[in-house]
Symmetry: C2
Subunit: 350 residues, 2 copies
């Protein structure tokens, strides 16, 4: 039997797409990468993923796992036509969160924003936030070891994963679904799958680390003269407010100019423009912490030293959302300007 | 040339110990494990470590790396006499900490307490604390992926390592000395060495993640009825004081009884005994946080619900040190009682 026939038999018409039906899976978000694959497999269980991978392995077909297809670098689309894209989009089951261990077990296709919403009634959060959270899926976040805007405090995706189930390249299911916070038993193999871009296997399920939901929040947008000022201010903020520093985001005046040019809904909320901008967000689980006072004191410290040119605290949820959009629409501004300013790059400070 | 002669030539008389000179390296701390090795290599550089490993590899000798030899499970001593113990005790160089990236590069033989002391003038801390910190060395902490008493907040040793240099089993030097906090470039290979007990290579240098030194601290010892109460109280503490919770340690009344029996200097500071005990420590980098008030409120919450039988805040550094000794002398009490109660075991709560 030809492999595409075998895949069609295995997965049924909803589970095996070919030709024009594969369109939304074929190209990355920037429409730069991706050729038409042999087809798109849409399994509904770990067993189906394993069967697909075994079949592809036996037939010598390439396999590319795909989550929300929100990547910008072509990692989730096909480079060759003898490729099967394995979309995890139909594996979206979630267990109830465990409040004592503050963990949750989810399937790899769960959309990040769906997880956020599901946790809300439980007073728990999964502290991973990024612009694409409405489409990005857990498996893709693991495969790319996503950082997001809260990594400063909570770490990257890998730091938030306690356990993994992975279908290995030969179709074997590797069970690493552990849920222990302080786990030093044996080789830390699950750590290698985070950031491996699917090259070592397809993540099918994960146990994620949760945190208590914060009770209060303070957000500020700051205009700074330059990147050096941002480093000095960041060092001060870590010392004075390190426990609360959930977000510390950076973008340039050029990036700001592009989103203001292309996105009519966005306005610049401060009086003076800077060379660079910092978005600072403090959160606390305790209602007893004077969060606004702590943030204001740090801003005054920066202003006195010329590290902060202008700045304002968000006074409402609406203002906060607007300030965050200035950061999160940076990729969209760049897409519309047809130019790229990379922000997801980390280098050691000088 | 016989391998021991070659090692003696390579390392000199201070660098190659045999016979009675190896005594302090041969047995683990509980004096349960370890046979006399061929010898103990004490290299002073990565190049020497690599040369030793190459030589052992070529001669078919086993290699066991050893740090402070504070382990209790025989992982750092020889099981067979055709073994070379590679002690990192002479590799104790430290760079100056980098305040902007809050990192420091150290050699694997640095003693944990020495690192703590070296950081003090810089207003930075390396938040790994355990009973053996006066002897335990960085390389051994990495090899065992140590947890320690602050792992609850800062993570385990692996979470505190940004970069590693490792001598691989064939003597190749693997340079993974990265110093980037948000590092998702390529396979996260360094993660696999943490907790590998030296079986994948010998860690020779590491870049460690530092934190700003806390400005205030509140510590309490609590007597609780049972382990279930500890889980409920811990969940509450994480929600109410999660940002500040640096230590949350647990020991049993049996463990307490043994240290009170064997260690004359220790007394029980509360009026009522419990079934289990919790040591709670909150720290903050901000002077504006009402830390004592937050801890007191959590204790009152626990007392009202019968989760806390008795408790007291440490009112001085001396009281704090005493409370911590009750926890840290648990292994010593067990050694003197010739019985074992394991505390370094983590399981998911029910």
């Amino acid at each position: 039997m030809m492999p595409d026939t075998a895949l069609a038999n295995l997965l049924g018409p909803k589970g095996w797409l070919t030709g024009p039906d594969t369109e939304q899976y074929c190209r990355d978000w920037l429409d730069r990468y991706g050729v038409e694959p042999l087809g798109v497999a849409r399994p509904t269980s770990t067993e189906e993923v394993a069967a697909v991978v075994r079949l592809c392995h036996a037939s010598g077909l390439s396999v590319v796992p795909q989550g929300g297809n929100t990547g910008l670098c072509g990692g989730a689309v096909a480079q060759r036509s003898d490729t099967v894209i394995v979309s995890l989009a139909r594996m979206t089951a979630m267990d109830m969160p465990n409040p004592a261990s503050t963990t949750i077990r989810v399937e790899a296709g769960v959309v990040l924003a769906t997880l956020h919403a599901a946790l809300e009634p439980h007073g728990l959060v999964f502290p991973m936030h990024l612009g694409a959270e409405g489409s990005a899926r857990i498996g893709g976040l693991i495969g790319t070891n996503a950082g997001g805007s809260h990594a400063f405090r909570y770490g990257m995706m890998q730091d938030l994963v306690l356990g993994l189930e992975v279908v290995l390249p030969d179709g074997t299911v590797w069970d690493g679904l552990r849920a222990v916070q302080k786990d030093n038993a044996g080789y830390q193999l699950r750590k290698v799958f985070g950031g491996a871009e699917g090259t070592l296997g397809i993540v099918t399920r994960a146990v994620l680390k949760l945190y208590p939901a914060p009770r209060q929040r303070a957000t500020a947008l700051l205009a700074l003269p330059d990147a050096a000022a941002a480093v000095t201010l960041a060092t001060h903020l870590r010392a004075e407010a390190g426990e609360f520093l959930s977000g510390l985001e950076f973008f340039s005046d050029l990036g700001l100019a592009w989103i203001l040019k292309h996105l009519d809904a966005l306005t610049y909320p401060l009086e003076t423009r800077g060379g660079v901008y910092a978005l600072v967000e403090l959160t606390s689980g305790s209602a007893r912490v004077p969060l606004g006072e702590i943030l204001n004191a740090a801003l005054e410290w920066g202003m006195e030293r010329g590290l902060v040119i202008d700045g304002a605290l968000a006074m409402s949820e609406q203002q906060r959302a607007h300030v965050w959009r200035l950061r999160e629409e940076q990729p969209e501004g760049q897409r519309l300007e047809a130019a790229q300013l990379k922000h997801d790059i980390a280098v050691p400070p000088p």
